[in-house]
Amino acid sequence: MSVLVYTENWDGKFKKLSFELVSYATGVAKMLNTTVSAVSIGKVDESELKSLSGYGANKIININSDKLITLDSQAYTNVISDIALKENASVIIISNNNTGKAIAPRLSVRLKAGIGSGVSKLPLNLNPFTVYKRTYSGNAFAHLVIKSDIKILTLAQNSFDLVEAAGNATIENLNPAIDASLLKTVVKDIQKQSGKILLTDADIVVSGGRGMKSPDNWPPLVELASLLGAATACSRPVSDEGWRPHEEHTGQTGKIIAPNLYIAVGISGATQHLAGISSSKFIVAINSDKDAPIFEAAQYGIVGDAMKVLPKLVEAVKELKK
């Protein structure tokens, strides 16, 4: 028996998300009294692979194949399910990010393994195997029993603290045969934004809503974000109006995020917006309407006009940094 974790890499590098997954897998493995095998697909060097053992991985299965450079959900499913069977995995852990959402359901069918998606805590119980998962877009959490022999858990990003471990994992290089005729998705072009802090990775997020009044009013918000090392986000009306790119839309139908600090500027806090940010550890609200629902979700609030408060906040941060 083992716990298998799929650790995605980005241009050969792992990021916090990967270590969260391994930390979580290690927690589950402890409950089951078993070991953690991590699977990496892509060109990742040995020292980077070894970094996974710092969070408890006992074995690292490294697949470096030219045919798996971009995601083909069928090919990835073939590779990961074969490994799961070989490692006798009883629990498979994947991120709840877009890659995880592409792979986990296919693996589920292949292995007849029930999915607990968007888990944010270690399993509540082993018998029956019960996980704690987000439902109703964060308005409720469910205790979900997974009845199948193999269980697949997809972990909500930023929901599980990193736990360092003294590990010395072995690396196993695997070169699975990949049938090229099975590769049916062809990536023609990749467009990456560079130099920006990704919204889903950020520890701090500064977000603007309709209370910003005009796209021309964003510079102090962007400056605040840059001083705090934060990513920028926005509410749905702002992205619908085209004031900000839709990648920044945070909320039920946009990005679901869980930063340590979310600063909502001129956002009233509609249910749909809160659904995307309610897992943030701390929320600061700046809004001119003292009755705005965002203040019910926030720990810290400033009642005031965004355009007056933001410049003062920017000055205060600069002062603090001196």
Partner: protein, 249 residues
């Protein structure tokens, strides 16, 4: 080309969720049921593709797994413009159950493009679309924010961390779609509502499938502490609290 759009029937997104029966189910009293937002965007995009005759889309069918009480949501999809509908007559128990039912229908009816929302706003499972594709052994592309046909080829935009990929995929395939696929959901016009009444809804009895998961109970998110208000003239105090109390900056 035939497009199938999978739709889920969910509480309106502004619903305040309450539980019933010892927190084992939700209290449905007073809930407005709607098409799951991502599914509604899928349907909109499917209809846009059909509107442009050069795409050669012959029909847009919606499929739903649910009891007779979800008929109004199916009629709404028909009113928006779907040509016909299929309802698998069963209360959905989990993603495995729903995907099994839909995959079985697709095997018999044959569709070229199957569109599913990336999640439903009730169970947030993000599983049905991928599962259908695996049951059928066909490709799936997830987190799709654009879909079009160019010279007989399907061109999809897939959202990845920090960017996007342009992807070609052969039909039949499942597109698991997210925000961006259509600008705004299409709204039913009076004529569409009238026409929907006479559009066919095919009723299919379910396969016997045992679900792999079961919800034991629900709980509310833990309540947050009351908001501390800080004077707008004194943002330094906010920073002090963030630094020394919350310890997040």
């Amino acid at each position: 080309m035939k497009i199938l759009v999978c739709i889920s029937n969910v509480p309106d997104t502004t619903t305040k969720i309450k539980f019933a029966e010892g927190n084992t189910s939700i209290d449905t009293a007073g809930i407005q049921w709607v098409i799951n937002p991502w599914d509604e965007l899928s349907l909109t995009r499917a209809l846009e593709l059909k509107d442009d005759a050069t795409n050669g889309v012959k029909s847009v069918t919606v499929i739903h797994v649910g009891p007779a009480t979800s008929e109004p949501t199916i009629r709404k999809a028909l009113a928006i413009g779907a040509d016909d509908a299929i309802r698998v007559n069963a209360v959905s128990s989990d993603a495995w159950f729903v995907a099994s039912q839909i995959a079985d229908v697709i095997k018999k009816e044959q569709f070229d493009v199957i569109m599913c929302g990336i999640e439903s706003s009730d169970y947030n499972g993000s599983a049905v679309g991928g599962m259908i594709s695996e049951f059928l052994g066909i490709p799936s592309v997830s987190a799709v924010s654009s879909i079009k046909f160019e010279n007989g080829q399907s061109v999809l935009v897939r959202e990845i961390d920090g960017g996007k990929e342009i992807v070609n995929v052969l039909t039949p395939f499942v597109a698991v779609v997210q925000k961006g696929i259509a600008k705004e959901p299409r709204i039913a016009a009076m004529r569409g509502i009238m026409m929907a009444r006479s559009k066919p809804v095919k009723l299919i009895e379910p396969l016997q499938i045992d679900p792999l998961t079961q919800i034991l109970e629900f709980e509310k998110p833990s309540p947050r502490a009351a908001c501390k208000f800080i004077d707008a003239e004194n943002p330094a105090q906010l920073l002090d609290l963030l630094q020394n109390e919350a310890k997040v900056i």
